[in-house]
Symmetry: C3
Subunit: 458 residues, 3 copies
């Protein structure tokens, strides 16, 4: 009981203090640095001669809202598949993402739109911040159920900085193309989370095994997440690309790729399933791999056939990963990957980066015409050959893997700080530790919660 009260006191203080501290810090930084950009400022917008219809808002905001829905509805509900962790999945998603949107506006702003001592913001910074939140939520998926909210906020605090730095190196130093973030978002977020989970390895996690599965309706809640991710992924990959044919082609390629990953997921899931039955986990996740795998190349002249082939491959690899590789990852490599982010974001992200290498290497003036300037400006200007662009793309993948791994290590060490409130191995995947849960579940939970065991993290 003393232990319980100590933990309750810790909970009561840690999360509020951290929220207030972080919010205070970002608010001060906002006051000092953040300003409306030309497209959002009343005075700046009216300088010069242009039509209201030219405002960037109209070209990006509808797709931004699709991305926003993916981050909050998609990721939030996709992770609600656990039978007793729905409050945390959805609730911590909104908490983590809300902080990330603020913090990443600052970090990405310093790297990308810092002029004359100020960061200028508008719909593009909203999009970029949401993208960063995507990476943070992917990492969250790897450690879902095994960390408290204060730990998660600290993870975001670190990850956002490394995300911004990695993105800056790729996009602004290496001039790598990665519109939909196969590298910067999916590969980075997945390996950051996986390495972090490896550092946080919980040897007695099987004591929480009975809570690690789904129930019938929690799987349907998760399908809400899946479907919103599925339908809006074309907007995700296309929202930051060049206007006109760029956004249009990217959306189209992503749409095709997802249809193919869906078909291969159903095929493989039934093929490897017990008695030929389909597995909901595969449909919830691997069907989405087609969106990840064209994150780099959907902007390029991938061709509709190329999109289908890529999606098909990604769905296959992802489904097989869930079936065969996740158990090995846990037992042999000691990486406990709650949501299987290695299968949905890790492997398809790396594949997507490699596909980008391939498609960039095949770029010709003939295929892109005058559009080459907007997709591969350095090739169009003669500063790089297609082969050189391909090599830079490949190098971008390595840089990402290094940033993610080092970051994940640092993150794991940070989250192991002994004073942080972390759930014991026997109480993972359990909402009641952090939430007041309505009556019906109390009976189920009182057993393990009353017989509280020493925190194996400490």
């Amino acid at each position: 009981m003393a232990e319980t009260s100590r933990r309750a006191a810790g909970r009561r203080l840690q999360l509020p203090l951290l929220c207030l501290l972080l919010q205070g810090a970002t608010a001060i930084l906002f006051a000092v640095f953040v300003r409306y950009n030309r497209e959002t400022d009343a005075a700046l917008w009216h300088w010069g001669n242009h039509s209201n219809a030219d405002n960037e808002f109209y070209f990006r905001y509808p797709s931004f809202q699709d991305v926003h829905a993916m981050i909050f509805v998609g990721f939030g509900f996709l992770m609600a598949f656990l039978q007793r962790y729905g409050f945390s999945s959805v609730g911590f998603t909104i908490l983590l993402a809300a902080f990330t949107l603020q913090w990443s506006t600052l970090v990405q702003g310093f790297f990308h739109s810092f002029h004359g001592g100020h960061i200028y913001v508008g719909v593009e910074s909203m999009i970029n911040a949401d993208f960063c939140a995507g990476a943070v939520l992917i990492s969250f998926g790897a450690i879902l159920g095994k960390t408290g909210p204060a730990q998660l906020l600290l993870m975001a605090l670190l990850e956002v900085v490394l995300f911004g730095l990695n993105e800056f190196v790729l996009l602004s130093l290496l001039w790598v193309k990665d519109a939909g973030g196969s590298m910067t978002i999916h590969t980075f977020g997945a390996y950051f989370g996986l390495v972090l989970s490896w550092v946080l390895y919980k040897p007695q996690l099987e004591k929480s095994k009975h809570r690690q599965g789904s129930v019938y309706h929690s799987d349907l809640f998760a399908m809400i997440g899946t479907i919103f991710l599925w339908i809006f992924w074309p907007s995700f990959n296309s929202v930051p690309t060049t206007l006109g044919n760029g956004q249009h082609r990217t959306a189209l390629n992503t749409y095709y790729s997802l249809t193919a990953s869906t078909l291969s997921t159903f095929a493989l899931s039934a093929l490897v399933g017990q008695d030929g039955r389909l597995d909901m986990v595969h449909v919830q996740n691997a069907a989405l791999a087609g969106g990840v795998v064209v994150g780099t190349s959907a902007e390029m002249m991938l061709t509709p056939f190329g999109a289908l082939a890529a999606g098909f491959l990604a769905g296959t690899v992802s489904t097989l990963g869930y079936k065969f590789f996740t158990p090995i990852l846990e037992s042999k490599i000691k990486v406990q990957d709650t949501c299987g982010v290695h299968n949905l974001h890790g492997m398809p992200g790396v594949l997507g980066a490699l596909l980008g290498v391939l498609v960039a290497g095949l770029a010709t003036h003939e295929a892109y015409g005058d559009g080459l300037e907007s997709v591969f400006p350095l090739i169009a200007e003669g500063q790089r050959s297609a082969m050189s662009q391909a090599i830079h793309q490949l190098f971008g993948l390595f840089v990402t893997l290094i940033f993610a791994s080092v970051g994940g290590c640092l993150g794991g060490l940070l989250l192991k700080l002994p004073f942080l409130d972390s759930p014991p191995d026997s109480q993972c995947y359990e909402d009641q530790i952090y939430w007041e849960v309505p009556g019906e579940h109390e009976d189920l939970a009182q057993g393990p919660l009353r017989a509280e065991e020493p925190d194996t993290q400490a």
Copy 2:
């Protein structure tokens, strides 16, 4: 049993008759008065020389659809948190909102777009009607579970008229700015509903207390509502503002404000929670207060820092309201506020109005440049000082509170008409009174429903 049959007969007739009567009346009024406007009429649109791309549709419809999702998905599911009132929450939302869209098209049309004997409609009237539906659904939240559908339709019949009148006074007589409706929607809807709930006070409501809470999955359904409100609030506040920088800035400010109200909600919820646990009610509601509080000022040069500060304050006030003020409101002031609309819409709405007073009072030609004309036309034209605009804004708040209070009183008296089918105090928050509910819940409900008690309303 006789009582039960009488009630069943009343139910069978009241709702159908009222629906048919109201639909018949609005249909006739539509036939007489409502016409396509220049942007929706085949003949009118082709007069003059303009591009199809100039049609208002392309500048407002995508954001309108976000608002539409908020009204139906957002409000509907947010109120589905009650364990046995999900059918009514979602079903009556669609019923009430559908009627309001028609009726408000007429009422707002008479006030705002009545020319030559006709009301002209297009995407702006769709937006305005949805906004009015938002106010009606806020009022519904205060009395959720305590009224029947016929009563609710009568409430909407009255409220829409007063909403339209109040909006007309504020926007067209006082020239108050209130794009996202901190006053016209949130303050009006909340206090109308709260006063109405006070008139309808149910002294023996504790007999329905066991149904007033949530169950695990009903809380997750409610989170669907929360998240759709959260993500689309930037569209809600920005959809009626001036094109270009106006919409862009409003969306950006709202986005920041919501992130801050989310952080303060989590901080405060854990701080005041039992054992430091988070309360789902706070996350479902108070996290949204950031959208309400910038409803008036998001259009103005609030600055990104201002948006964060406002959101932070609103989340704090709202969470503390749920924890400490709602019980007092019920026990001392005799206002039973089912959804806590006082905390989500009432106090944040008033705060939002006051913030509008402050930001309007600080308006300068320097800060707004040539954009002053579109935000504060009377200041730009020299007819008002910033201070005068601020005073008008403040006066608008008082007008709103008066309209809402008087309207809520009238509404309460209307809903107390003895022949109206109203649930008895012991059968509130119960779908079975109005819906055929599938088997699983019948056992639970037969007790109270069979031992039907006299209606304390009558």
Copy 3:
């Protein structure tokens, strides 16, 4: 047990083989035929002198995304009302629709955008493919719970071809107007599915009756589908119409029509309900009939009053259909219509076609002005009178009914192929046959699944 293993082996092979075969075939056809169109190709787009803002993407993509949400979220969850068929409803929706999007891109492409040996694709082909998926999912609704996924894919394989052919006859040979598809989508999809269900008649289906109802939370999941269909239907009907006033007016008419069908649904549902109680099935479905019934005419000068009247009628007919006609359809005509698609898509679709006949017949140069060219080009060019257009519209309905009936027959015969894995009459509406279902439901299901009976289909 031998029977069970044989069936398991069949399951394990049929679905994977079919998925791989179909995906392989469409991929090859994509490689040979499908190319980016002028608006999505990097090189083609940069030929000539036009602004990026002119790209079709910006005029159609936001509404396309609404349609995409309707197909996957709307149809998927609307069909999740069954207590033990949620995985299949949502899962097979995504599978069927994913295949249809690919296959229909090819079929519709051959009919509508085949030039110089290639099919050119962009946002319009995405929209058209989604529309075709809508028709396939309507047919799925008629046979929901009574077929396996391999059967469904074969149905889609056939239906997509007939859908494309029927659409080609109507739109390109008869020059019939049908923007929102009252005929091509709703009437076609419904009667194709109903005739198919009649061929597949399951005489002992009452053995699965206990699974045919909903449970409380499955009805709420279904309401997610309903509401997404309801809010986005204005986008569905308007997305393919001419730019400017065409899209604008179509969205507005649909919006009004849906409000009226909602009011008539509530009125009628209470009027005919047991003890005057509302029926969730009516609200979930009939409230949407207003979207179906203006599918042909919303583009025309229907007038706002006309939209209300049409919606009111459709909601009335649909609700009465659910109450009185569906039982007769099953007992007398031997058509088992799981979702009642006859009431939501069949009758309202036919009514919508007839309304199109009426409104087309009333078209005048005065009412449409210069907009006549874009709504009725043949009338504007003097090649047809309004009466002639009306007669063509009516003929289009007959053609559709013939294509649907013949197609449904062929489809039924195809699905009765004895080697196809079909659920026995006693195991319909049951996820466990095709899915690994988490623990809680196993007890319920083990009875019927263990005592497996001979397949009455075989």
